[in-house]
């Protein structure tokens, strides 16, 4: 019963428009961006998660490419800690390394194309 409630509650929250509006007005500000006006390697994560909650996959990918991978990694880690898959640790390592590559490549791409400001 508890598990069902935990599973259902985020769906109810997402499906209500008021919650997304509230989130859009209450994003955490990045101190690096606040001081310098430049994007940090993680800027765009919250916006892209919001876009994902509204079901907009393409704009979520454009805002911050590794979002989907990060969510998959977190879900998989929770499942692995619960059920203890045989190759779980290996997959977590591979996912983690690929996420770092995507983040670094994304940041270099931003620098080269002057999209930082």
């Amino acid at each position: 019963m508890k598990l069902k409630l935990i599973l259902i509650s985020p769906i109810i929250l997402i499906s209500s428009n008021g919650f997304i509006d509230w989130l859009q007005n209450h994003l955490l500000t990045c101190p690096f961006k606040k001081f310098s006006g430049l994007d940090c390697p993680g800027c765009g994560l919250q916006r892209s998660i919001l876009a994902l909650m509204q079901g907009d996959l393409v704009s979520s990918f454009k805002l911050y490419p590794p979002t989907l991978l990060i969510i998959v990694l977190l879900m998989f880690t929770l499942l692995h800690l619960k059920f203890d898959f045989r190759m779980g640790a290996f997959f977590i390592k591979v996912l983690y390394i690929s996420i770092t590559f995507v983040i670094v490549i994304n940041y270099i791409y931003k620098i080269v194309n002057h999209q930082l400001i």
Binding site: S36, L81, I117
Partner: protein, 142 residues
């Protein structure tokens, strides 16, 4: 006197044998089904993963998480090395995965910190806190 001295010597001898058995038969799992998971394995895994997720917004948090994860994992690796059979292999794999994640997260966080410091040195704090001045400085570079 001699009998009294012998008795306390015998009692510690009787307790260590399971410990020694586990050392000599690591293939059998040592403790015969009484294996525990390492105490900090899941904590290290979770901290290692969080170190990169939080590297995004506030670089220092990820740095601290990564260092904590590395210290905890070092402790557990020593624990695992002292008696191999006493702990489950899956938890050791988790621990190693968490350690790799923590190391990568640490490297990324340190790079991010260095980048910030390099920016401050290059353009100065005044330009950093003023977007328009920074834009001019960037255009002067090209």
């Amino acid at each position: 006197m001699s009998e009294e001295q012998l008795d306390p010597q015998e009692t510690p001898r009787s307790s260590p044998p399971p410990f020694q058995e586990s050392k000599f038969t690591p293939q059998n799992g040592g403790y015969n089904g009484l294996q525990q998971s390492l105490p900090n394995a899941t904590v290290v895994l979770v901290l290692g993963i969080l170190s990169i997720v939080t590297c995004c917004c506030y670089g220092i948090i990820g740095l601290i998480l990564g260092i904590i994860a590395l210290v905890l994992s070092k402790k557990d690796r020593i624990l695992y090395a002292t008696n191999v059979g006493a702990y489950t292999e899956s938890s050791f794999k988790n621990l190693n995965a968490g350690r790799v994640c923590a190391i990568i997260g640490l490297i990324l966080n340190i790079l991010y910190l260095l980048l910030t410091i390099a920016f401050v040195i290059l353009f100065g704090w005044a330009a950093m806190s003023d977007p328009d001045a920074l834009r001019e400085a960037l255009q002067n570079l090209q």
